[in-house]
Symmetry: C2
Subunit: 221 residues, 2 copies
DNA sequence: CACAATGTACGAACTAGTGAGTTAGTCATA
DNA sequence: TATGACTAACTCACTAGTTCGTACATTGTG
């Protein structure tokens, strides 16, 4: 998330378009994540900024476009995290585990992002579809998975028939569910999946699961 | 007048409280699942029924309680499906796979339920918390998992340190994500996780993953 | 000055919820 | 079985309060 404390302005410039836009995005991210798109109020978002509602319309055009801008930035953050991943020097097993843990850590650290994605799915990804920016971004994680998978399969460590997108879905499933469904799961089963005391346990469980799947003998029917 | 306590009016059902309530619940389920709690309009729900908005307030008290009633019924459906599960005669590996497939099938067959759960998580499970009915229901699936797990661990087929709630979370993760995040995943990675042609593939993948995890050798660090 | 950036005030449309009255079905009793 | 009291089920019209969006005025800055 871009921080509000922007470039140290020597003289306190009152007018700063970039800062105003960033502040609106910060607040809107929090509000949309908190109560959803329909639940969020443009007036409330404006009130939580140091500017006015007029600026939201001036810079973003409307509530819908504001939400799209929020999504674009949120996806940008995870893409950046994935890009910073360096696993080329690791063996395939360790590399996959490291990648899974990156997803695990990112999802845990960004519950607002998880909520936004849940919300966007309720809206059948219409904002992603409407966004040029989001339409054509790939996923660095996917590229990494492809490379690790290939290397692992060539060396015979991994079973041959595993697809990169599928593996990404598997890893995301676990990490996403743990954060997204924390509340219903906790209420129904009395267990907080995001309890800090259980963090290492679930982090290991994810890695174990993925590695077990990748290295399992699948001959038995 | 042979007064049967069943109001068995074959078709002349002008006034039928049970029917009216059920119809409201049906429509409300669809609407809440479609556009979320805040996005749903009581007037719209009423318009989609053959009764009036006043009846919603008459029977349910308000929008919030209507949503809770919708959730209660939706959770009841999956509980029933779980209750119908008969895996006692199977060996642990087959039993776990069968259970996982039941979850897989139910989630796929009830996307509205998945959406409602997503929505309820955005609301931090406040309706579940407010519901007496939902507060004290257990999960038949969990009981089944406990029994299978114990048997599998005693016979040495499964690794010893796996917990039933954790395994349930793992299975649910995969099944839930596939349906809930279908749209964003599809938009970003160009793959429809609920494509009928891929159904068997993902169904097998789930079983393979769970069994691999349960039977993996976890000695290597 | 020109124009980007910002603030104020307002309104049309919407939205959850209600007040008040009506009709259909039940039941006790003569 | 006819009648009238009673109540659950239902209809209609209304309102108080929101909510998104905008017209218009103003201010700071290069």
């Amino acid at each position: 998330m871009t921080s509000v404390e922007e470039p140290a302005r020597p003289n306190g410039r009152i007018r700063d378009a970039a800062r105003t836009k960033a502040e609106i995005l910060d607040v809107a991210t929090r509000e949309f994540a908190r109560v959803g798109f329909a639940g969020a109020r443009v007036d409330d978002i404006a009130a939580l900024t140091s500017t006015t509602k007029r600026m939201i319309y001036y810079y973003f055009g409307g509530k819908e476009q504001l939400f799209t801008a929020v999504l674009e930035r949120a996806y940008g953050v995870i893409r950046e995290a994935e890009q910073g991943l360096d696993v080329e020097h690791l063996d395939p097993v360790a590399a996959i585990r490291r990648l899974a843990e990156l997803t695990f850590d990112h999802h845990e650290a960004h519950p607002d992002f998880i909520r936004l994605v849940s919300i966007e799915n309720i809206h059948e990804a219409e904002h992603i579809a409407a966004s040029e920016k989001l339409g054509r971004i790939g996923s660095p994680a996917l590229d990494v998975i492809r490379r690790i998978l290939k290397s692992g399969q060539e060396s015979g460590l991994f079973t041959a028939d595993v697809d990169a997108v599928d593996l990404h879905a598997m890893i995301s499933s676990f990490c996403f569910f743990r954060v997204a469904n924390r509340h219903t799961f906790g209420a129904l089963f009395g267990r907080d999946l995001v309890d800090p005391a259980q963090r290492e346990h679930y982090r290991n469980m994810l890695g174990d699961m993925v590695i077990a799947y990748l290295t399992a003998d699948r001959t038995a029917g």
